[in-house]
Point group: none
Chain length 139, copies 2
DNA sequence: CCTTTATTGTACTAATTGTATCATTGTAAC
DNA sequence: GTTACAATGATACAATTAGTACAATAAAGG
């Protein structure tokens, strides 16, 4: 089960740029379950060779998907599906999962011996710096 | 019980290099008392086999921790947690491990699609209810 | 003791992966 | 035609991980 074939069909006549087609088709295959969170995508070079395009074109598609948090790319390592696309998941379930996640986090932080004040300050700082990083990405 | 199992959980989707994840998790386990000064860590090859990575990846993590004076590696002997961590080291360690923990948490929450506002509200709520629980415990 | 063998971390290098930058090409507007 | 711009390609680069050989220490056998 190590190899996902990930057959993408490019259509020259569609008029859409190749990188857009790659983005769309990977999203589709994720939605229909053909690929799943945690799966490794082909390397930019491997997929490029299969599609007979330049690997930078694939890299561009991957960069878009990465920005959308659908995949996680890591230089030297590869590209992995990250997101559990939550469109039809109920709001209540999503909220509960955040609640569970938060409690695990706070529990662990308490276990490390940190006070409520320090924890909430750290959350504020992290949120701030992470927001700034995203802003920088967008321009 | 001579053997510390040192269960580390690598997360492909975190985007962090493996050696960084190893560093962070060993720091955390030291801060929370799961491992203690004087303890011997697994050999680079043993931990590598368990994590299914190349032993040089573990060696790289150990080298970083060694440079930070958190562990002491000795060729031919093994790797040990430093006996008397200087106070400023242990304080920095505590801070860094909370930082890493917080970033993992926020990353995961973002990945689930929550906004900054919702996340910080949830943290506030959780901290509040957890504090109340502790108060109730104490009386 | 001394020698040999196994075990452990180290050093260096190679391979694999994504990134950054600029050049080229094609297409549309003017 | 010229220009502007978007898409793609070419090339060089950086980061991570893997492969191989080695050195230091400990353990075992004599």
């Amino acid at each position: 089960m190590e190899e996902k074939k990930l057959t993408l069909n490019l259509d020259i006549r569609s008029g859409l740029p190749i990188y857009t087609q790659i983005v769309n088709q990977i999203q589709s295959q994720l939605v229909n379950g053909n690929i799943k969170p945690g799966d490794q995508l082909p390397t930019v070079r491997a997929l490029a060779q299969e599609l007979r395009v330049n690997f930078n074109t694939v890299a561009r598609a991957y960069r878009i998907l990465d920005k959308e948090r659908i995949i996680s790319t890591q230089q030297g390592r590869g590209t992995y599906i990250t997101e559990i696309p939550p469109p039809e998941v109920s709001e209540r379930l999503r909220h509960e999962s955040l609640e569970a996640l938060t409690q695990r986090f706070i529990n662990e932080a308490f276990r490390l011996g940190f006070s409520e004040k320090v924890i909430s300050q750290m959350v504020r700082d992290s949120l701030k710096s992470m927001k700034e990083a995203i802003i920088n990405d967008n321009e």
